[in-house]
Symmetry: C3
Subunit: 384 residues, 3 copies
């Protein structure tokens, strides 16, 4: 008899899971909603098992003796350890390398790198998030290299590529956020009709990537939420993401609007996600400076970005704004690390410390689910 | 019937081992003597098994499919590979990251880092040894973050934190040293009443941390040894460590004294541990310079530390001084790497090459024992 | 009954394999031809199994719960992931560290490092290729440290050292190249009597090590090939390698000659291997500059090396030169990454994209074979 916890979870869709075998996750918008639901159902099972509620042994070693290789072109605490934790739990060997120590910095092409890694590794994670127009393109090139190579040889091996944050999206983060919203609100369809505020917030620390807010608006609008995006003038997101959010909201029966006032994102919201990102025009300027490897120019852009940020120090998630939310008690969300005192007041953070940790904890199960659906044939039967 | 080698080893204390489940090792002074004995008894069994004397299969895979994550804020050859070797032997996946590549360098708090890593990893190792007052505090904050998170959620997971060298102590090193002293002298109680000299020695290479001598005097004095600490003026250790050493020596029936003459540490000693460390006042100056991220100041402090060291080039472990020891034949010890020609003469080192290697080899079993006692329920039964 | 694929592979030589237990691979010239054949026969079996043609389960976990530790003193994409992929497939835990993050940069000796790593790890990979006269010597010192330590203690552990590229040779690359030549030409003895051209080619990117061409001429001449080495004046290889190539060619019934014209290496060749390396005199100048840690001098040498390279931009593998080869259709080979447009035209590379990927793919099986022969007793029986 099935364990009651597993029974209460959304059922696994065998047909859809079958189609996910070998699949990469480069943008959530590349996946159908049914595919995302199947992935999240797997993640929920893996979480229940790992938290000891699954009624089955803790051993999830579905992918023994395989290599889970991740390349990071930017710093990471959470995602590196989530990748390693996910791979280890599945019996894979996690190896993490810094992009700067590879020959990629010697001008090797991404397609070539992909072919190489695809033959040696069994799954690939990549973080490449600092330069607009480059990170996701790099991942696609790596994937093309892998596919070309595997297609041309007789290797049956599947090597899914997992986007661990690019210039456009941060899918393992936003899917973890969605899984947490569902857990918190207690229902798979819980965000339908709920107001969720995604807002820019002030940060003095560095010009952060756009991928989290972009990923949020393109993901949450698919599930019927009423999403409000707030940011100061000049902090717009990529047109393609804003466009997709609007279109999807219409299709899903939700809504999407962009406003220039942080309060509006909070008014009546069931959940708020205030976080900083860099000014759009300066993020674009970075592209050319990076191609020219012009460190002075990059430093100057960073300085100007922080000056620009400093004009909006009042964009903070504080007690007054939380008071505007539904019942004055919205769920505070953040991908962490938050700049406490700048993006959010110490008091608001203190109240939600466990919430943001539980939110973050979903990432390891989303990555496990990605690896499991991409790598394990007959996964539904294996998960019981 | 139990294998004779295992029978000759100190017995495992089931009650004490039961209490060590989930426990971190941040300072040896946090542990009772009975707890340290239990840990060392486990280490001795793991060594016997790994060296093929255990009469049981070499497979120690007590912790499969779990992640042993280590963060290093300073260089390491021995400890990195000992961590990885310990984790691998237990079936864990070792992953080692440099602190500079995490978001910790973006100002993330240690408590926050701890929460994140605690949910993703199954055990944590940390080296953070260069700044007085900071390394151990960082580890405690990480541990608090892990405990807060695990306490607030429903995860049964235990995530012990292992100090892989901090500003105060280097417990996996000093416990390896103690295990080696016992193996060398052939008895668990072997250091009782033995004179052990811990001495400063000259080094021109860099201002080394205080953690090894501090860890030695606070550990060895608990087991009845007569410990002499020798150093030039200005090279004192932290008051708290010196105080603890004196108090413990009284309690254990041993003795502890601090002298200003290297010869006195050697006279009649059964074992000597001559190694360099930085001048105390300059190690303190480093704190402010490090907080200000003032590279010039740090460089200047380092330069002055080496100038100060250079006034004491005669503090070397040479043949004459070894001649002062018990029977002229004391055991030479070092945590390695030693500055040969400066801390120790080539001749003394050559005579003890295998000894220091056997000493060093204990570290992998101490770390294995730490992971095993912290992670494996019913460990005594599993080890047979 | 044995699987047909395995039956078609060269048989495993039990006697020779028995002697390879515990053996390191530092130079192919250290191994007898029979030993190299035994290694390649193992690699072929591991490839067949991993590609799903072996008729046995994909699980190659012959070395569970052991640590495969690699230290890289130079960048790497392919070899790092090949090392990790090989170790993972065998059930080992791969850990890769950058040489700069170890205490080796604090002046620790290689012998000492070897002793330490030898006790903690179960196999060691090292890349140390930038300084003539140093990389292979470092590896030998590490091996000596391991052997001294294991010899002096009671540990049965075998810790083979694998050269992942040094100043003299790149054996896992050249053995992969040889395995690919045999696969491509469809026969174990396929290169006997075949003309193979190894040629310098122009690169503007950096002064590349000599190890690949040196390794190729010393390996291929042992198997009866007619090897032509072509390079501009000033780009000679180490005398010892050129001398060995000539001697071996005579012994094997092949031939070896050095020419100053790229075309001659292509005329009638069945396979060509055009790749860049640095000017010999400047590679020697680098030795002193590196010992003095003189960054300005190293930068100046690099600048002059690229100036020198730029006098030979016509040394490119293009369609005209490929037209000179056997049937105008030689196999193009490269260790990758190639400088497309400089070492080789885009058209030639495009035609051989899958070939160079299949060539590269052999590296993971050569490393697996190295680890398996060095670590697994009774390997022939285990591989079936």
């Amino acid at each position: 008899m099935m364990n009651p916890t597993l029974q209460a979870l959304p059922p696994l869709d065998r047909d859809v899971l079958g189609k996910l075998f070998g699949k990469s996750l480069l943008l959530t918008t590349d996946w159908t909603t049914a595919e995302l639901e199947a992935l999240l159902a797997v993640a929920a099972r893996l979480q229940a098992r790992d938290h000891g509620r699954g009624g089955v042994p803790a051993d999830n070693a579905l992918i023994p003796n395989e290599l889970a290789y991740a390349v990071f072109f930017d710093n990471s605490t959470r995602t590196k350890s989530a990748w390693a934790g996910a791979a280890s739990r599945l019996g894979m060997s996690p190896v993490i390398v810094d992009g700067s120590s590879t020959q990629v910095s010697h001008g090797e092409t991404a397609v070539e790198t992909g072919a190489m890694l695809g033959m040696n590794a069994h799954a690939m994670g990549i973080r490449h998030d600092l330069i607009l127009g480059e990170g996701n393109a790099f991942m696609r090139d790596v994937k093309k290299g892998i596919d070309d190579y595997l297609g041309a040889t007789d290797k049956a091996q599947k090597v899914p590529v997992v986007n661990l944050q690019c210039d456009i999206d941060h899918p393992t983060q936003t899917l973890a956020d969605l899984a947490w919203l569902r857990e918190h609100f207690g229902d798979v369809d819980a965000i339908r009709g709920k107001k969720i505020g995604v807002s820019w917030a002030y940060s003095p620390s560095y010009a952060k990537p756009l991928s989290v807010p972009q990923g949020l608006i393109t993901l949450l609008t698919r599930f019927g939420a009423d999403v409000t995006l707030a940011h100061p003038e000049g902090y717009q997101l990529m047109d393609s993401c804003v466009g997709a959010a609007g279109k999807q909201a219409t299709e899903s029966g939700g809504s999407f609007r962009v406003v220039g006032d942080m309060d509006q994102a909070f008014e009546g919201a069931a959940a708020v996600y205030p976080k900083s990102w860099g000014p759009y025009d300066l993020m674009l300027e970075r592209v050319a400076a990076n191609r020219a490897a012009d460190k002075d120019a990059l430093g100057d852009i960073e300085r100007r970005a922080l000056e620009r940020n400093a004009k909006h120090t009042d964009w903070i998630c504080d007690e007054r704004r939380m008071g505007l939310t539904e019942g004055g008690d919205a769920l505070y969300m953040h991908c962490l690390p938050a700049d406490i005192g700048d993006e959010v007041t110490p008091g608001v953070m203190a109240k939600h410390t466990v919430n943001v940790a539980r939110e973050a904890n979903w990432k390891v199960y989303v990555i496990m689910a990605m690896l499991a659906v991409g790598k394990v044939e007959g996964l539904a039967d294996r998960l019981g």
